[in-house]
Symmetry: C2
Subunit: 228 residues, 2 copies
DNA sequence: GTCTATAACCGGATAGAC
DNA sequence: GTCTATCCGGTTATAGAC
């Protein structure tokens, strides 16, 4: 059921060829319009052969996730090393997500929907996606931790997961965005990240104490049941 | 591409038979496990024949939407007529959504994912779903308007749409909920509706003025571009 | 044991005769 | 408006090749 790793040099080549072919074709024609037969053809393997490495077409998508995630990490490394302001770190990180994914904008819709299915092995809330999800959550933990913002412990505990969810919402907005250069998404990112930082600053207000506790309890309970 | 309405008595029967067969089988086996062949069989028509009324398997789902929406309206009518407290109205309305949808819980996952695809004609943000979406938004407008809560005009303007979106989030949570009697979802509804009412009450605080403006601007801009 | 190929299966969708 | 026959694409069974 899981993705099989090749044991030989030859196998490695085949696997890479299939993956590259898939990514190219996805980019070029979209997810649905890309047939497994076309992928196999372009990769120079037989149709059945590609199923030796990837148990389903969907699983090729998971690989694409990992691919973009790694590009993303590289893209933001300098920022995270240099910048201390939480707002800037957050804005830069989320902007980098959509910029990294831009070549796949046309495919992203089908992918998102495929993956939104709770019974899909790739559902971001599910078990198979867990390793990658945890990497992304850890990234947001670092975005927060490496900043000079002082976040109360109870908030800091749930913040990375919440930011991961926030990133998913941004991606869904981005999928619909038809504006040139995806400018609207970038604007929304700027607005929302600033808002998040501002609300974090307000969280210590006495009037907000009860709401804060309530929200955190909610996040904790929702996260505990669905994800852990 | 749209759903064809039958012109004859015989056609009406066929259409109804197909729809009933589909809803029964969806309930019984789930969406994916129900084949168009099985639906046609049970309805007593040929496979090709069912495509005369419903252009795709997905379109059978749209019908299911309308069905549950109408059940929902009926279910909450007494509450909306009687109750004046905003929190109670909201809680009752959203609780009724998940209770109405309960018989389809097993199917809901596939349906949600099908519908999440931006290029699907059934996407809730898209054009085809607009009439139904506007009905639901109007319903939430009434939930707010019929209450004794005094909501500032700028908030009242965006609130119904926001509550519609909130309802969708609850439904997505509900899909994952495996707790007996879907108790966790009901708890989350109680928690979140209370939170919403509380935050609405706080919106007039001077410290929150700028965030409030920012949030409303955001909602307006996002809604304007994606939906209107 | 690791890889690859061929042939088939299954189910959504369509064409076109009646 | 209904049928039969067919396409198309994801997936699987399985036999062989290294």
């Amino acid at each position: 059921m899981a993705i099989v790793l090749p044991k030989t040099r030859k196998g490695e080549n085949s696997r890479a060829a299939i993956l590259n072919a898939a990514l190219d074709l996805f980019r070029e024609r979209g997810y649905e319009a890309t047939t497994m037969r076309a992928i196999a053809d372009l990769a120079g393997v037989s149709l059945g052969g590609s199923y030796h490495y990837f148990p389903s077409k969907e699983h090729l998508v998971l690989e694409f996730y990992r691919h973009t995630h790694e590009l993303h990490l590289v893209a933001i490394a300098p920022l995270l090393a240099r910048e201390k302001d939480l707002g800037s770190r957050l804005r830069g990180t989320v902007r980098a997500v959509v910029i990294t994914c831009e070549p796949f904008h046309a495919v992203a819709g089908s992918i998102f929907s495929t993956v939104a299915n709770p019974s899909s092995p790739l559902n971001p809330f599910g078990g198979a996606a867990r390793p990658l999800r945890e990497e992304v959550v850890a990234l947001y933990a670092e975005v927060v931790k490496g900043s000079d913002a002082r976040i109360p412990a109870d908030i800091a505990e749930m913040l990375p997961l919440t930011l991961w969810l926030y990133q998913m919402a941004i991606l869904y907005f981005w999928i619909f965005d038809r504006s040139p250069g995806r400018l609207r998404t970038l604007e929304v990112i700027d607005e929302t990240t600033e808002l998040i930082v501002r609300l974090l600053g307000l969280a210590n207000l006495p009037v907000l104490r009860s709401s804060r506790k309530r929200i955190l309890g909610l996040v904790r309970s929702v996260a505990g049941g669905s994800i852990a």
